[in-house]
């Protein structure tokens, strides 16, 4: 069996599972975010009264942090009251940041865990050897009511990235290249394990970006086998007991593909599909109205550090604005302590509250019709960050910061 299958079998109380089987699993951590009041409605509609296990539920007020409309404020009020009524102590209010980063910061993402959140990018937690998957409101309400959820045991694909990325090229470029090559529906219903020698050079931050973006190829979950880099991170953060599973040597993957990244160029996903991926050279000189650095994909301290390095002592281009959204409070504190915030604000960037912000087109950096945005986020669908006639390019933190500096798309490796 694969490590993921062993993990699922354990949580289903079975000795083994096989692909395609429907199983009912105990959920270690169920997260709700503030977009989905429907979660609470579905819970009550199904006759729920008391949450099965409040210690395994976490509430994130991250997508509308802080509320920018009366409706959002009213929704968040109901979430807080639900937590207080139900004894849910893990209420991550508007000061905390994006759910996935908050889980990591607080040591709540760890090997062998099943974490289910009403957020499609829950695949991020594969970076820790967890089984993370996104669901809708009613599925999450079922966990609130019963502590369990059904899954179809997925086929498992392995994607290997071999060799070391060139300077100025990042995990984000590697995963965009893979999505561009394989397609936005390559891994639908399947789990993706990332392997290959590139991983030994990637920090937890970059591994999170890799696993996060597996959602954009349709994956149900992702996985990186925990190693020394994972263990060093866990040692600092995680206090809960956890179990690391290993894949049997005779396991057969549903598919296995490899990419040599040693000569990879910076990549961009052009409007308006995440798999519309090209070398940055295709778009050199394209005017940028807004550069945006943030989200559960590209808003970590390492990402902000790259931007600070590129903009140190320089200025954002005059007809370009640069919006930075730290993924969490922890990220913001680190960026302040290390001086990145000062450097970037002096360069002409602006910081907004840690959270999801304009990544999903609701507030804090929306873009107008006819504008072009380059962003470290994860989706460039029409209307994703504002007007449906705005254009969105997805790229690495370096590609975004270099574009902010020059006011147009440039090759970021020339600015490192």
């Amino acid at each position: 069996m694969h490590a993921i299958e062993k993990l699922l079998a354990k949580k289903a109380g079975k000795a083994s599972v096989k692909t395609g089987e429907i199983i009912n699993c105990e959920i270690d951590m169920a997260g709700i975010n503030d977009l989905y009041l429907q979660t609470l409605r579905s819970f009550f509609e199904m006759g729920g009264t008391k949450v099965h296990d409040p210690s395994r539920v976490i509430m994130f007020l991250d997508h509308y942090a802080p509320a920018s409309t009366i409706t959002q404020a009213a929704n968040q009020k109901q979430f807080r009251e639900f937590c207080w009524d139900q004894g849910i102590d893990l209420l991550m209010d508007i000061d905390q940041g994006v759910c996935h980063q908050v889980l990591a910061d607080k040591g709540l993402a760890y090997p062998g865990e099943i974490v289910v959140i009403t957020d499609s990018h829950t695949t991020t937690h594969g970076a820790f050897g967890a089984f993370g998957t996104g669901v809708g409101a009613t599925d999450l309400a079922i966990i609130l009511a019963t502590g369990k959820l059904w899954f179809r045991v997925p086929e498992i694909i392995k994607i290997n990235f071999e060799e070391k990325l060139p300077k100025g090229v990042y995990a984000k470029d590697a995963i965009l290249h893979a999505i561009g090559t394989l397609g936005a529906d390559y891994a639908v219903y399947k789990a993706v394990e990332f392997g290959g020698s590139m991983l030994q050079y990637l920090s937890i931050s970059e591994r999170m970006a890799l696993c996060n973006m597996s959602t954009e190829m349709g994956a149900k979950a992702s996985y990186i086998q925990p190693d020394a880099i994972t263990m060093a991170f866990l040692e600092e953060k995680v206090t809960r007991p956890y179990e690391i599973y290993h894949t049997d040597a005779d396991f057969h993957y549903a598919d296995e593909v490899s990419f040599d990244v040693s000569a990879l160029k910076p990549q961009l996903a052009a409007p308006s599909s995440v798999d519309n991926v090209y070398d940055v050279s295709q778009f050199i000189g394209r005017h940028i109205d807004q550069a945006y650095l943030g989200s559960c994909t590209g808003g970590r301290a390492e990402d902000i550090c790259i931007a600070a390095h590129i903009l140190q002592g320089k200025k954002v281009a005059s007809r370009t604005r640069f919006v930075i959204v730290p993924a969490s409070k922890g990220v913001l504190l680190e960026a302040m302590e290390k001086g990145y915030v000062k450097t970037l604000i002096e360069a002409g960037a602006t910081f907004v509250t840690p959270g999801c912000a304009a990544c999903l087109g609701t507030h804090e950096g929306m873009i107008a019709s006819g504008e072009t945005c380059i962003t470290t986020t994860n989706r460039n669908f029409p209307g994703r960050m504002g007007d449906t006639k705005a254009q969105i390019f997805l790229g690495s933190p370096a590609a975004v910061a270099a574009a902010a500096l020059m006011g147009e798309i440039v090759d970021p490796t020339l600015y490192m």
């Binding site: 977009l35 809708g136 936005a184 989706r379 669908f381």
Partner: protein, 169 residues
């Protein structure tokens, strides 16, 4: 649930994401009558004026990709969409739709066979898709697990029953 579903087809392309089905800026709305106003708004803002109860959405691969927002299903159900036939579905959308009782029909050739306005029918059990009276394709069969949820009117009545049994015990 009816054994034979029928309605007119509205055809969309591939990778129709949840921002096209229900744009992010409307996600703060939670009452069904508000959510119903924006069905397919990002792809075709006039869709809600044209769709009738029981009509089908027909699409290419990866329908419903993107966000986990259940609004995308709530809005389609609210405007009366009877079933969605696509070449494939994104997985969270698939779960959400089955949970709320909308049949999702996987047919890998459907885009080439159907045009907007075609009058279609679908047999939930045999998987046969017909235009007027003639058979045009046979879809992948729905699993027993999924059929059970659809026959129960979605997953909520099933869980409700389960909780009642547990509370009585």
């Amino acid at each position: 649930m009816e054994k034979i579903l029928s309605g007119n087809a509205f055809v969309f392309g591939k990778n129709v994401d949840t921002d096209q089905i229900y744009p992010g800026r409307f996600v703060e709305f939670t009452d069904v009558e508000d959510v119903a106003k924006y069905a397919m708004f990002g792809a075709d803002p006039t869709f809600t004026c044209k769709v009738k109860k029981g009509d089908f959405i027909v699409a290419g691969t990866n329908f419903g990709c993107g966000s986990s927002r259940e609004h995308a299903v709530i809005t389609l159900k609210a405007v009366g969409v009877g079933a969605i036939i696509a070449e494939s579905f994104a997985r969270i959308f698939y779960r959400n739709a089955i949970n709320l009782g909308i049949p999702l029909i996987v047919c890998p050739t459907i885009s080439k066979l159907v045009q907007t306005g075609d009058c279609l029918s679908f047999d939930l059990y045999s998987g046969e898709i017909r235009r007027e009276k003639s058979l045009i394709a046979t879809a992948e069969p729905l699993s027993d697990y999924v059929l059970n949820i659809l026959e129960s009117g979605g997953i909520k009545p099933l869980i409700k029953q389960q909780l009642e049994v547990k509370n009585r015990a």
